[in-house]
């Protein structure tokens, strides 16, 4: 593993080479690849860097910057394990890719394919559900919606989002 950067460069995000992306005044869509993501089981919110989403009772998703070391598991997993003793931690960084939706039409766009009431989703909270036939986690930050989707579904969802965006762009 002499060439660390080289190995990281060999990675391919699910939406690489698909020309996915929408940029318009009211709506933009982009893939945020290679985020470090770990699931944590803990009764209390876990101590962790980055965004911490509640997925369900005693169930959390941590979203932090991409790793800089090639490894079987992202370093964030051990970091969270150490900070939350006794709490099961799973690396799911390659289990989901992240699609960021911003703009005034962001919430309405997803309402074309998601039955969950996202208009009342507070900043800092996430929901799990079905978006256009794909199981997703949708979290709201101060200025964006983050969709975490399985790589196998990413191209389908990207195609669906791109089509859904037509009336808004």
């Amino acid at each position: 593993m002499a060439d660390v950067t080289g190995v990281l460069d060999l990675r391919r995000s699910p939406l690489a080479d698909t020309a996915f992306g929408v940029t318009s005044p009211g709506l933009s869509l982009d893939e945020l690849p290679f985020r470090s993501l770990v699931e944590v089981r803990s009764p209390e919110p876990p101590t962790a860097p980055g965004l911490v989403w509640r997925l369900g009772p005693a169930w959390w998703l941590v979203d932090d910057s991409p790793t800089t070391e090639p490894a079987l598991e992202v370093p964030l997993a051990d970091e969270v394990r150490a900070a939350n003793p006794g709490c099961p931690v799973v690396d799911v960084s390659a289990q989901r890719t992240t699609i960021v939706v911003t703009g005034e039409h962001a919430t309405r766009l997803l309402a074309h394919g998601c039955a969950i009431d996202l208009t009342v989703l507070p900043v800092g909270e996430a929901v799990q559900g079905d978006l256009a036939g794909a199981q997703v986690v949708i979290g709201r930050t101060a200025d964006e919606l983050r969709i975490y989707v399985r790589p196998a579904f990413a191209r389908h969802l990207a195609a669906w989002l791109t089509d859904a965006a037509l009336p808004y762009t």
Binding site: D3, Q95, P151, A164
Partner: protein, 913 residues
């Protein structure tokens, strides 16, 4: 526009002329017209014909209650709206009274039945979910009042109206009238979200409404509270020859004046059973229609109304009824003369109004009960559906209120419940013109012994036409009650079910068509193998086989698979195994859980080892199989079949959450976390050794059913020695973002050994020769592990596991259960057909029923010995080895010999290379 009045028409814009085409002929109209108003304005009265009788028919109503005027839309003229690609737009059976005109609109008149266009529908349909605290259905004054009253900070109110503008009847009244002033004030206060041209077609309980906007967008509305302000619909009365063009609902006729500036007749007879009909007569007279006579079925008339008619010099006949009509001799058959109990008159308009039906359909959809009200002379909401109580209210005319709109068609005298003339030929009294059903048909139903309105509906087809009884449904109930001699309320209405208005298939499909019709799942290796023909496995696309440039035509698959099989048996092959389900289980009690969900023992598995397991349902039947690796003392990685990943995950969660919550286990799906490339064949060790120089791949250091962490081609990986082919094999697992890079590296490193990519078909051949079953192909939910010959995988020591009790049942131990066996053709060359039934050799296939002994579950044209072979489930199969049977496909028998399921390397000598 012969009948267009010089002024008036609240809904039309005279500055925007519109040209439409009817049966190829041009018709001029204005923006805001409906097709019906445009046709009436053009004095084109013949709009359709009876579906069976062929009788000429015209426009009856002014909205969704229309029962006659259905047309075939050839092009809806709405090209390029809302992102459409444009073009086409054919639609069968569209009510002329609700079809808004637009330039380019082209329609054809039909006789009661349209046709589905065979053109591709390029229009864009979509779906939108809206959540709100209050949904108000209907934007008339009652709905507007409710919406404005509900508006508050934090309360999302959604107001839906099927018309082009809000206000309902008030929008057609003068701006300075009390209703017009109130409308202006309400619109000024209205701040909530409004959807116009949006019809709520279903109320599905628990606050869920479905609505359609302009035919193009399907709205799912989830509301905490629902206000139904759906108004009322005018009810006709029937008599002999009641279906001629020129016979209309009275209020509808007056509405054509106020909304569209169209005068529906020069000389009219008006027949009514309630005051609104008299108001309508006065409105028509004010617009220029000469009233030949006004008839009221009731015995008295309010002095105000009587005085107004008297002032116009109109003869009024109380307690009178229409008894018949004459039509013109030309093809339009239009009304020329009206016969009544009080005399006959020449007229080109007969305006009839039998009363008002509160629009209770949405109230009834989820199970709301209606009752007959004599005060209203109609069915009104009574008991809301259990799930709607407290969250639903009905207001305005829909609730039976008669004074919702101040100063408009006021009710001064109670209405009469009157449905038909007392005389006339029953075969010419049409009670559902769209179905051409008559009073005679109703009487036949009655004579046949039918008394339930539901039975009568099905016997006569009354109410099953395009209007679904909106026009004549309650009228039919009234007539049926008369025939039966029972109160109307006791007879009751038919059940109102969604959708209130027809929904097109295109609308329901929405954007879920073409590539978006169902998600396509692809692995992160997909782009490297995408040139191969694909097999659909659940939602996944998996490479089926990899034909070379020489392997073309109908034999391509057989040739490619034979080559791929040979490569794995004699050299090395590689395949993308990423789609298999992967579930990470963590916790101190994972071993306990696995001992319960697998039939064999898992808790004894040591870290670094992998074990194969079979899962059964509580019925003892196999539901899945796969391997599970122990990663650490507390972490285990389970693999499932590609198709069952989600159901196994769900089953694990369900057992854990509902039955064994005390177990320290957490379960996480990691199917997409890992890309897996399987390297299989006697040369696979060389390839892995070249890729992972630091990994000792010798059989001694890295045994079958073990896993190791290693760096493979520079990529951090977990390598497992598992085999689905019987050959020496390694499965390399890497975080999925390295999947494509791993594939490239394996292909490159394997080149010296001629590494051959193989697909699912070769995988199936390889495993079938080893007798490895595929759950779902060789099993069908009725197969136990014992039936598969896998008793070795069923623990006799464990106190319990899911399915253990069922496997102990006598039936699960019958010796004649269907067992998994192998088959070869007796002639050594004819292909066995998958799905073929197994019968006794030489059985007479014409002597039904032929006794079936089993069926072929998997069949392949070529095995390692060059001959076709198959797997089958056969009654008592294990005891019938060597027996000859017939495998019957499409009545063609093929003699096959029963063998053991394992046809290749039964000793398992090849797995270590």
């Amino acid at each position: 526009m012969a009948r267009r009045l010089p002024t008036g028409g609240s809904r039309i814009d005279r500055s925007r002329p519109v040209t439409i085409t009817v049966d190829g002929e041009t018709v001029e109209a204005y923006a805001g017209d409906t097709l019906a108003s445009a046709l009436l304005a053009a004095d084109r009265l013949l709009v359709s014909r009876g579906i069976y009788s062929g009788r000429p028919r015209g426009v009856i109503g002014v909205g969704v209650e229309e029962s006659n005027a259905y047309v075939q839309v050839l092009d809806d003229g709405h090209v390029d709206r809302g992102g459409d690609q444009g073009g086409g737009g054919g639609e069968p059976m569209v009510a002329a009274t609700t079809l808004e005109v637009a330039d380019g609109l082209a329609v054809e008149r039909i006789a009661g039945r349209g046709w589905l266009s065979t053109d591709v529908d390029h229009r864009r349909y979509d779906t939108l979910t809206t959540h709100c605290e209050v949904a108000v259905v209907g934007g008339g004054l009652a709905g507007l009042r409710a919406a404005v009253a509900a508006q508050a900070p934090g309360v999302r109110v959604l107001l839906l109206d099927d018309g082009p503008v809000l206000g309902g009847a008030a929008a057609d009244l003068p701006a300075g009238s009390p209703a017009g002033l109130e409308l202006e004030a309400l619109l000024g206060e209205l701040t909530c979200e409004v959807l116009v041209r949006t019809t709520v077609t279903g109320s599905h309980g628990h606050g869920r409404l479905v609505a359609v906007e302009r035919g193009r967008r399907l709205h799912h509305v989830q509301a905490a509270r629902i206000v139904l302000a759906t108004g009322a619909q005018e009810r006709p009365m029937v008599f002999e020859d009641d279906d001629r063009p020129g016979i209309m609902l009275a209020c509808a006729a007056a509405d054509y004046v106020s909304r569209y500036g169209v005068l529906p007749g020069e000389r009219a007879v008006v027949w009514t059973a309630h005051d609104a009909g008299i108001h309508a007569a006065l409105e028509l007279a004010a617009a220029g229609t000469e009233l030949a006579a006004v008839l009221d079925v009731r015995g008295s008339m309010a002095p105000e109304l009587a005085g107004a008619l008297d002032a116009l010099g109109v003869p009024v006949h109380l307690g009178a009824e229409v008894t018949g009509t004459d039509g013109s001799d030309d093809e339009t058959g239009r009304l020329v003369r009206v016969h009544t109990s009080a005399g006959s008159w020449d007229a080109d308009l007969l305006a009839v109004s039998g009363g008002s039906n509160p629009a209770v359909q949405l109230f009834s959809h989820p199970g709301g009960r209606t009752r007959w009200s004599d005060e209203v002379a109609g069915f009104v909401p009574d008991t809301p559906a259990p799930g709607q109580a407290g969250r639903e209210s009905v207001v305005g005319a829909a609730a039976g209120e008669t004074a919702t709109i101040p100063g408009w068609r006021e009710q001064l005298t109670p209405p009469a419940a009157w449905f038909r003339s007392s005389v006339g030929d029953p075969e010419r009294v049409f009670v559902d013109p769209h179905r051409d059903a008559t009073l005679h048909d109703l009487r036949r139903a009655h004579a046949a012994g039918l008394s339930s309105v539901e039975h009568v509906k099905r016997f006569t087809t009354v109410g099953t036409g395009a209007d679904q009884g909106r026009g004549f449904g309650v009228l039919t109930v009234g007539i049926l009650a008369q025939e039966l001699g029972r109160p109307v309320g006791e007879v009751g209405t038919t059940t109102y079910r969604p959708p209130y208005l027809p929904l097109s298939f295109g609308l329901l499909a929405g954007r879920n068509r073409g590539v978006l019709s169902d998600p396509v799942r692809v692995s992160q290796v997909h782009d490297r193998v995408a040139h191969a023909p694909m097999e659909n496995v659940g939602q996944w696309k998996r490479p089926w086989f990899f034909p070379t440039a020489d392997e073309t035509g109908p034999g391509a698959m057989d040739a490619a698979v034979a080559r791929e099989v040979a490569a794995v048996r004699t050299g090395v092959g590689m395949m993308d195994a990423s789609t298999l389900g992967k579930i990470l289980l963590q916790g101190a009690d994972v071993g306990v859980l696995l001992d319960r969900v697998y039939t064999n023992l898992f808790s004894t598995l040591k870290v670094g080892k992998v074990r194969y397991g079979v899962m059964c349902g509580p019925d003892g039947m196999v539901i899945d199989d796969g391997t599970t690796a122990r990663l650490s003392e507390t972490a285990w990685l389970m693999s499932t079949t590609t198709g069952n990943a989600a159901s196994v995950y769900d089953a694990l969660e369900e057992w854990h959450q509902t039955e064994w919550p005390e177990l320290d286990v957490t379960i996480t799906s990691v199917t997409d976390q890992w890309s897996v490339v399987a390297v299989a064949g006697p040369s696979s060790r060389f390839v892995i050794s070249a890729l992972a120089p630091d990994l000792d791949v010798s059989a001694e250091a890295f045994a079958f059913m073990e896993w190791r962490e290693a760096v493979v081609a520079g990529i951090p990986a977990r390598v497992m020695r598992v085999s689905f082919s019987g050959e020496l094999a390694f499965e390399v697992n890497v975080p999925s973002w390295w999947g494509a890079a791993l594939w490239d590296a394996v292909a490159e490193a394997g080149e010296p050994w001629g590494i051959t990519p193989y697909g699912t078909e070769t995988m199936h051949v390889l495993r079938a020769e080893k007798g490895f079953p595929i759950v779902g192909q060789d099993t069908d939910g009725t197969v136990t592990p014992h039936d598969l010959g896998m008793s070795w995988a069923v623990s006799r020591k464990k106190p319990d596991f899911i399915g253990k009790r069922s496997l102990a049942r006598d039936d699960a131990q019958r010796p004649d259960r269907r067992h998994l066996v192998g088959l070869v053709p007796v002639d050594g060359r004819t292909r066995i057909v998958e799905g073929a039934q197994l019968v006794a050799h030489g059985a007479d296939l014409t002597a039904f029923p032929v006794a079936m002994a089993g069926h072929v579950t998997s069949a392949y044209p070529v095995g390692h010995d060059g001959q076709p072979f198959a797997l089958a489930l056969l009654d008592g199969g294990r005891d019938r080895l060597g027996e000859v049977l017939d495998a019957v496909d499409d009545l063609v028998p093929l003699a096959v010999r029963v063998t053991g399921p394992v046809s290749y390397d039964p000793e398992g000598a090849r797995r270590d290379g």
